[in-house]
Amino acid sequence: MNSHKFLVEVEDLRKYYGNVKAVDGVSFKIKQGSIFTLLGPNGAGKTTTLEIIEGLRTPDSGKITIFGRQVDRIGREEKELIGVSLQETNLISHLTVRETLSMFRSFYKRGLKVDDVLDFVNLKEKEKSYVEKLSGGQRQRLAIGLAIINDPLLLFLDEPTTGLDPQARRSVWDLLLDLKKKGKTIVLTTHYMEEAEFLADWVCIMDHGKIIAEGTPEDLIRSIGGESVIEVDIEENHSFLEDLNNMGLNYVFNSKNKRLVIKTNNVLEAIENLLKIAKGKGIKVRNETIRQPNLEDVFLTLTGRQLREE
């Protein structure tokens, strides 16, 4: 089983709910020992895709190969080898952290010692606390603890840092990097582009149930062109945007938040041209930012929307 280069292979996966195409022909391969990330806004189909692979939902069509075996739905054998952390982590509230881990450990034939897991997720001090008394970050660390209690080969983590403060998020990231070092294969969904950029070896960007781009974070960012990005807030003005076009500026304007994003290899020239046109039209330019392009720009370029738009 370990000899397979790809632990999971998904081909033309589809799941429709009436007219809603939750997953619409998704295909990808997950390399052993990598952090594979499904990046996309809420409702893109990331969780549905993950839950089909995890065996929680039945696909309408498509092919799933996991640990080298094609399955319609994973069985007990595969469940012994995977670990899962769901998007929401509710557990039996009046059990302690240790009891919860012990309970889940008893479900598997093999696995880690509860003490080792407590140490790994840094919850030793909280081992006697009831689950309901844990903070969001602690609860998320417990969820990861439960996901690794059987020492799985493959981990599915569905938005493991959503709702956490930056410090707690960072602590989860460190855990995931440690797991990667231990040779675990991690499948991660997120709508945080910085999370995907920081952790992922391979990113699939999903939107409306489809994968719209995939590659390493660096390749994806490079694919949109431009060494730098200039962001400004402006009022919507058609002739102004036309003038930007005429100037040959590569831009995306988000009419919802009135944010103009320009990709360029020559920052000074682009700013000079931008300000000249704005002045000529009497348009105020505010909140200027110059930065390196990121996955958010990739998504914006591909969809015209931002990842965390309402």
């Binding site: 929680l56 039945t58 469940k79 769901l86 557990l91 509230s93 009046h94 012990s102 309970m103 479900f107």
Partner: protein
């Protein structure tokens, strides 16, 4: 693994204060309240009246009457607390005692009673039609106990008249044989309510406890989390049911302590019939809980479904009071209510109250409910996509 997992579910339940209150403390408190309110209302106490007997004669006939009253005022089964007054006339003082309730009734054997009876008998022997010899009975018109005492005295005097007639004439007496079926002891509300409260405690844990908790497990994606592990659904549900089984046992122990030790119920919680019906109740009611969790969309709707089922099941199941004579428009709820049969069956087999239904029905109908709800729940959970 089932036993080990069941201990985790049990630990979680036992640590929840609300769960402990509603499933253990509340039924015990309810039983205490009901016994306090209703035991005196339902309990048939031995009738025991205070009466005065004024005896102004000492002949044979008046002595017969006197002896009858005296016999009825002796021993454990006495009907009267008798106070004898001899050779006095009914005066203001005795009548004042009657008015004040010191006595419920005054019986006076008037002066000349014996000679009147003797002459009456002689006259009858010669075929004369004579008026009966009077015994005077004083009662208080608006006092129920006084009227009740007078009815008892009247029946005694009627019986004595009959005896006189029998001895003087050739009257054949026809005897009706009677046999007391069931317990000879009187109705005890403590015995009546104790098995009922045990059923209702199981009902709270089984229907509300299981229904709402499993709905929350579903809504809070806890079931989904279990589904991702190799544990089978059968293993999960058996573990969960076993944890509630421990809880049922705990409930029964607490209620048995209250019923047996505090209120001296004669029901033996270790008797076969008690245990049998308690088990039948556990299985039947638990499937109600599983059913609710399977059909409810979330915890709130599980609560609503539970409340809708609760009122007819609990109050029209004969738990708190007999429901045989309820009006026709609610009678059908009584008839289709499995609690009716469980309560009737357990009380009948324990000799507390005869069941209006055949005993086999008190087992069969809950079993039918058990099977129906179990099959629906299994089907619902099988087809459920936990999202």
């Amino acid at each position: 693994m089932i036993i080990k997992n069941s201990t985790y579910f049990f630990k979680s339940a036992i640590r929840e204060k609300a769960y402990i209150f509603w499933c253990i403390a509340f039924p015990a408190i309810l039983m205490m309240i009901l016994i306090t309110i209703f035991s005196s209302l339902y309990e048939v106490k031995r009738v025991n009246f205070d009466i005065y007997l004024v005896k102004n004669e000492s002949g044979d006939f008046s002595n017969i009457i006197y002896n009858v009253f005296e016999d009825l005022s002796k021993g454990e089964e006495k009907i009267f607390n008798l106070k004898i007054f001899k050779d006095i006339s009914i005066g203001e003082k005795l009548l004042e005692d009657l008015k004040k309730g010191k006595t419920k009734l005054i019986v006076e054997i008037p002066e000349g009673f014996d000679s009147l009876v003797l002459s009456n008998i002689t006259m009858r022997m010669f075929g004369a039609d004579v008026n009966p010899v009077p015994i005077k009975v004083y009662t208080l018109r608006h006092s129920l106990s006084s009227q009740a005492a007078s009815m008892v005295v009247r029946s005694i005097i009627d019986r004595m008249n009959l005896e006189f007639v029998k001895r003087m004439t050739n009257v054949n007496e026809y005897k009706v044989k009677s046999k007391i079926l069931g317990s000879k002891k009187g109705f005890s509300y403590v015995d009546f309510i104790f098995p009922g409260i045990v059923i209702i405690a199981i009902f709270f844990t089984g229907m509300f406890g299981i229904g709402q908790e499993l709905s929350w497990y579903r809504e809070g994606k806890i079931l989904k989390r279990f589904q991702l592990t190799p544990i089978s659904p059968l293993n999960f549900f058996l573990s969960y049911f076993l944890s509630r089984f421990y809880f049922f046992i705990l409930q029964i122990l607490v209620l048995s302590f209250v019923g047996k030790v505090i209120y001296k119920s004669s029901v033996n919680p270790f008797s076969f019939y008690f245990i049998f019906y308690v088990f039948l109740t556990m299985f039947t009611i638990s499937t109600f809980g599983f059913f609710i969790s399977a059909v409810a969309k979330n915890t709130n709707s599980a609560n609503v479904i539970g409340q809708i089922l609760n009122f007819p099941l609990q109050f029209l199941g004969g738990i708190y009071f007999p429901v045989n004579d309820v009006p026709w428009f609610v009678k059908w709820i009584v008839i289709i209510n499995p609690i009716t049969y469980l309560a009737a069956g357990i009380r009948d087999t324990l000799g507390i109250m005869p069941s209006p239904y055949p005993i086999y029905l008190t087992i069969l109908i809950p079993l039918v409910y058990f099977l129906i709800f179990l099959l629906i729940s299994i089907k619902k959970y099988r087809n459920m996509e936990l999202t």
